[in-house]
Subunit: 418 residues, 2 copies
């Protein structure tokens, strides 16, 4: 027998990769976790960074701090360039990571369905960098509008119109948080504007209902309307230009701020031979989460294409965590000569917050709305927020916002993505 434990390389320190690493803690393997950032991002709260409610650092945790207590795991900050599936080696710009088992958890990237101008003109919400860039942009638009004379009414209106594309959880949550920012703390900050009359938040959804897959769409629509968000259903975006969002109906919404939350696809990963990709750029896998032609390669999280009961599994944190955990267990089984087991997703629910005291939560098939749903949302997010100090700091921030109708971090801080 070989004295060295087998190498398990994990690409990506999101929910899937991190949960896989943790599930291997007690196995006799050497875990090598790779990510291009040195932090794990708690993406479910990114919209609050973009709405100036939370500091970016509060939704990010250093990966090394998370795995340093795990004796068999090491982290390396590395941007993976190429994977040789035959030689079993992962390449970064300046290093090589040979593996016995590979877990791919690269996550997803924004996807624009070929809508002209969408990729180049939209703001997006898939990374801390994008969240901070959007926050800076929103605050700059209001600042610039406040410096324009009244007679430039058209440009003022364009700067104060925010168009959110996509009525899923991210679109609903960001629209609500943005309306709270504009119509509460910024009203006080900008006495030279009449934001309550002048600012517009428009949420566009291509289907006939918000929050598909979560439920509570009608409730969310009513609540958003009460908060000042204009919700438009069956509104398809035909094109996005530098100064407007064009609808399929022919209508043009003049805006300096199109925010795209309408789609993602599996993150690209260069491998030899290439892994097959299907709908949404996702990688099809066997029920065991193994790649189709490579027994020792597992794929987990947003980049996986896997159906269950006839429907594709959604790209949410819960699926990624359960898959990461499952891939790790299958590697442990294979090490013992046992067959890997098929993955089965256990849906514990879905939720979206809409604003102060208002949310939608679907828990094991039961739908809750309003304050009770908001409390569920709060409890779940605090529970899963990684790192105790972050939990405390986020709670403190929220308590403050809640008590004083304030928004913490209205700072236009330097950011490379600007």
């Amino acid at each position: 027998m070989d004295g060295d434990p087998p190498q398990v390389v994990i690409v990506g320190a999101g929910f899937g990769g991190l949960w896989a690493a943790r599930a291997l803690a007690k196995e006799d393997v050497a875990v090598r976790l790779l990510d291009k950032n040195n932090y794990h991002t708690f993406l479910p709260l990114l919209y609050q960074v973009a709405a100036a409610e939370l500091e970016p650092g509060l939704i990010a945790r250093p990966v090394r701090g998370l795995v340093s207590r795990q004796a068999n795991a090491r982290f390396a900050m590395a941007d993976v360039q190429r994977i040789d599936l035959d030689q079993q080696v992962v390449y970064s710009a300046d290093r090589t990571f040979p593996y016995d088992y590979l877990i791919l958890a690269p996550g997803s990237v924004n996807y624009f369905f070929g809508v002209p101008g969408a990729a180049s003109h939209s703001f997006t919400l898939k990374s801390v960098e994008e969240g901070v860039a959007l926050r800076n942009h929103v605050l700059r638009c209001v600042e610039r509008a406040s410096q324009l004379p009244e007679k430039e009414a058209g440009e003022r209106q364009r700067l104060l119109t925010f168009v959110v594309v996509g009525g899923g959880p991210t679109g609903v949550e960001f629209s609500g948080a943005l309306a709270e920012l504009l119509f509460q703390p910024l009203v006080k900050d900008f006495p030279e504007l009449r934001l309550k009359q002048e600012a517009r938040v428009i949420l566009l959804e291509a289907t006939g209902r918000l929050l598909q897959g979560v439920g509570g769409g009608e409730y969310a629509q009513r609540r958003l309307a009460a908060m000042g968000v204009e919700v438009r259903l069956n509104a398809t975006v035909a094109e996005i230009s530098a100064d407007a969002v064009l609808l399929a109906s022919g209508e043009a919404l003049a805006t300096a701020s199109p925010i795209w939350t309408a789609g993602v696809s599996g993150a690209p990963l260069a491998s030899e031979p290439p892994l097959e990709r299907v709908r949404g750029g996702r990688i099809p896998v066997r029920p065991t989460l193994q790649a189709l032609h490579h027994d020792n390669v597992f794929v987990v999280g947003d980049s996986v294409y896997l159906e269950q009961d006839g429907a594709m599994l959604p790209g949410v944190a819960q699926v990624a965590m359960q898959q990461g955990d499952h891939a790790a267990r299958n590697i442990a089984a294979m090490r013992l000569g046992l067959p890997p087991q098929p993955f089965r997703y256990r849906d514990k629910g879905a939720m979206a917050t809409i604003g102060r005291n208002a949310a939608v939560a679907q828990v094991r098939g039961r739908l809750f709305t309003g304050f009770i749903a908001w409390l569920i949302w709060l409890a779940v997010h605090i529970f899963f927020l990684i790192g105790f100090r972050n939990r405390l700091a986020v709670l403190l921030n929220w308590a403050w916002d809640y008590l004083f109708y304030e928004s913490a971090v209205r700072l236009i801080l330097p950011n490379r993505a600007d």
Copy 2:
């Protein structure tokens, strides 16, 4: 009489500008506060951002939030391009701000005394942007060192050597905080390195004593040495290259991280006619803080050249606050037809923290060192930290670090200055 109140334009929302705006709250004037950022930076704690102890947002407060309760004050985010002192107009890129009284509080910028390579190769600590860039750089250096094989010992050593130039408060405080970061949390984060043996923090001071102007230099030197900082007195920097700091003695210190804290000069401001500049790029003023040839122009803070009892006033927050306040009072006096009064700085003390439980504090001529000085330092900084939530959050962060020997924010977050 004219119905409109006179316009007071204040350039810069640092300590000088902000205190001037506040002191005008009850006067019958229209205050217009300008800054290129939309936030006020609490510079005395910037070194903690660079040492990954505090989130950047915790030392920055939105200026609009600070002045929004002051009925006669308005803020505009504006990068001042030019000032016409004859026409009495301040120009930004796209706006004009006419004034009756002008308070210039542009602060200071890094100054390198013509040392070759210093400006292009050094990291500095004068803005949130620079603080975050330095934090990212330090963490990247350690990360890169951890990925180098043992045989590349020279490059590993260079990446793990940090050379701080300047033994004033900023240099002493940053050296101490950097040593605490490297020799405590990062030791746990990087089991693949032996940071306690491999990492070096070297503090260079050109004179024979640390903390000139504060006192307690010998105490600071002993404490820093105990924390693992190599303090070198009478060490003059001759040149800084991309991979080393060269001393006048001929010695070369191989480093990827020269950090310059050794000098500042008055921030540039283009005016017509130009304001005279003297030593350190500072603007000489009359004892009343009025510009030499313009009765209605006041200069306050780091950019002022003013002597008191034969010595130049130091570029510290206290001087700026007192001058901002004084300039505002003189404007109020002039409005009543009274003569402006000469400024007199009342030195309430000076201090520097060196690390856990250790500081130097000079209060009204008495020198304190050690734990008691650290408590004084803590109380003063918490008291002056603007914004109640920030105070609470910073205290929470510090308490956590203190109890758990942890460092909060070891994140390499995107930043434009990188």
